[in-house]
């Protein structure tokens, strides 16, 4: 319950900066639209590809940026403030990030609905209740995997202090391997196999495929356990890094 209150507090805080959210939303809107235009030049203008990139507008809203916002915590020593509070740092960050993502994601949903209804663009989307439920579960776990990955990047700041370089390199990899540029199924077989070995397609690509209705029940039974494995692995890494990093942490007055 207390975390729900924290979530509501952060939600109010985010809602104060509506114009900032709108700018962030425009940031996530531009790339999918550009790629969509580029695909039309390739002569591929199918419902599948249009839906794919429209869903990536929503996915862009759910792209976790926790490491960017929390960077000053370690860099400028603001972490001391969190250490004094009777809350887990991980959970606090989770609930402070979620409102940003929910509001931006819902803006993406509005754009998708607007394009679908006003321009009468055909959209391929799951319709059966159990399929929708499964897609939501996959999306939630995908979000959690991404959140944990970004938290690990944040914690490397205990050793490197400035993580901007590492953060940018990781972002390039995520953008390519999570299917932001083009669908992974459209890549060559060997490249697909390598990408599927990484956690990145499980963050965004498979949730998008699930909402598009492109996953069979056997796909679900394969993807869901892999997501759980990555989540457990990342959580373990996070705990280890936190335990070791907190001993290295220095701030003014300590």
């Amino acid at each position: 319950m207390r975390y729900f209150r924290i979530f509501l507090l952060f939600f109010e805080h985010v809602y104060q900066y509506r114009s900032r959210i709108f700018v962030w939303f425009l940031v996530s809107l531009l790339h999918p639209l550009i790629y969509l235009l580029f695909w039309s030049g390739r002569g591929i203008n199918t419902t599948g590809i249009i839906t794919y990139y429209l869903f990536y507008i929503i996915a862009g809203g759910f792209f976790v940026h926790v490491e960017e916002d929390a960077r000053p915590d370690i860099l400028e020593g603001q972490l001391s403030m969190y250490l004094m509070k009777p809350f887990s740092y991980l959970q606090l960050k989770f609930f402070s990030e979620l409102p940003w993502r929910m509001i931006q994601g819902s803006m993406g949903f509005i754009v998708l609905s607007f394009i679908a209804f006003v321009f009468a663009v055909p959209i391929r989307i799951v319709g059966l209740p159990h399929e929708i439920l499964l897609a939501i579960v996959i999306a939630f776990f995908g979000y959690c995997v991404m959140f944990m990955f970004k938290m690990i990047i944040l914690l490397t700041a205990f050793w490197t202090i400035d993580i901007s370089g590492f953060q940018q390199l990781s972002e390039m990899i995520v953008v390519i391997c999570a299917g932001f540029i083009m669908p992974i199924y459209a890549l060559s077989e060997p490249v697909q196999r390598i990408i599927y070995l990484t956690p990145f397609p499980y963050m965004i690509y498979f949730p998008v495929m699930a909402f598009m209705g492109n996953l069979s029940s056997s796909d679900y039974s394969r993807i869901f356990p892999v997501q759980v494995i990555w989540l457990v692995l990342f959580y373990g890494m996070y705990r280890t890094l936190w335990r070791k990093g907190i001993r290295k942490f220095t701030a003014v007055g300590i």
């Binding site: 425009l26 235009l37 580029f38 390199l169």
Partner: protein, 262 residues
């Protein structure tokens, strides 16, 4: 003008001293910057795989376009990006007072205070990439074409700078919109693709995007001998007009600057 040039050279020296002191940071940032150039090429390779012609551009031409983007955007990052990154903080925290009190043009000082030396390797790598593609595909470029290319690229840079400065000026009213820089990076990315791609967008949007898109497309077309005079005149006129508008808009916006305490 002479005074400004002298000041700029002094700033270059200060920035160079910083680069000498923090060499580790230099190499780290240089690797990331090169990473973005590689990312641009990989993205383009993915998008053009299995096709020979898109929007009238061949695969090689599109890769050269990506190279030209890396050069012009790289130069922009060297001379202006760090300044635009600092600008929201300077305005939001009221530090602009200190800039305004100095006996020098505030727009000039805010635009050139920082120089990002680590991006130089990216520009050099992109130039080598362009030369490699041109020579391996037997594309001959005359001396006059290179001059034309450089002149148009410089006007393209001026256009990028002016648009960025106009948007950054909005911060004087809405200082919390610090993420405008992220948006402008994305808008800049639109220039990475051929002009013809935007023609399907409808008249109004394509007219709005045209000068932006031409900044990269047009110098690239010069290398293939396909640049039109009409397009060149658009970029020249628009970049100069936008530059003077950025100066006017900044002076106008300063009247609304409230500082941190007033």
């Amino acid at each position: 003008m002479k005074k400004l040039l002298k000041l700029w050279l002094a700033l270059v020296r200060i920035n160079f001293s910083n680069f000498i002191i923090y060499r580790g940071n230099f190499w780290g940032t240089a690797v990331v910057s090169l990473g973005w150039a590689v990312f641009s090429v990989v993205s383009m390779l993915l998008l053009i795989s299995n096709v020979t012609l898109i929007f009238g551009w061949t695969q090689v031409e599109l890769l050269i376009l990506t190279g030209v983007y890396s050069v012009i955007a790289g130069l922009f990052h060297i001379f202006f990006t760090a300044n635009f990154w600092h600008m929201p903080r300077i305005i939001h925290l009221g530090q602009l007072d200190g800039v305004l009190l100095k006996p020098v043009n505030s727009q000039f000082l805010l635009s050139v205070r920082y120089i990002n030396f680590p991006t130089f390797p990216r520009v050099i790598a992109a130039v080598l990439f362009i030369f490699y593609l041109l020579s391996s595909n037997n594309i001959e470029v005359t001396f006059l074409q290179w001059i034309y290319f450089i002149v148009l690229s410089l006007f393209g840079l001026l256009l990028f700078y002016s648009v960025w400065y106009i948007f950054m000026t909005i911060l004087l009213w809405q200082s919390h919109l610090t993420n405008l820089t992220d948006l402008l990076f994305r808008v800049m990315d639109t220039a990475k693709y051929p002009k013809e791609m935007y023609e399907n967008l409808g008249q109004y949007i394509s007219i709005f995007l045209l000068p932006f898109v031409l900044t990269i497309t047009l110098p690239t077309k010069v290398l293939f001998g396909r640049a039109s005079f009409a397009d060149a005149s658009i970029i020249l006129v628009v970049s100069v007009c936008l530059f003077f508008f950025s100066k006017f808009f900044w002076r106008y916006a300063l009247r609304h600057y409230t500082s941190a305490s007033s």
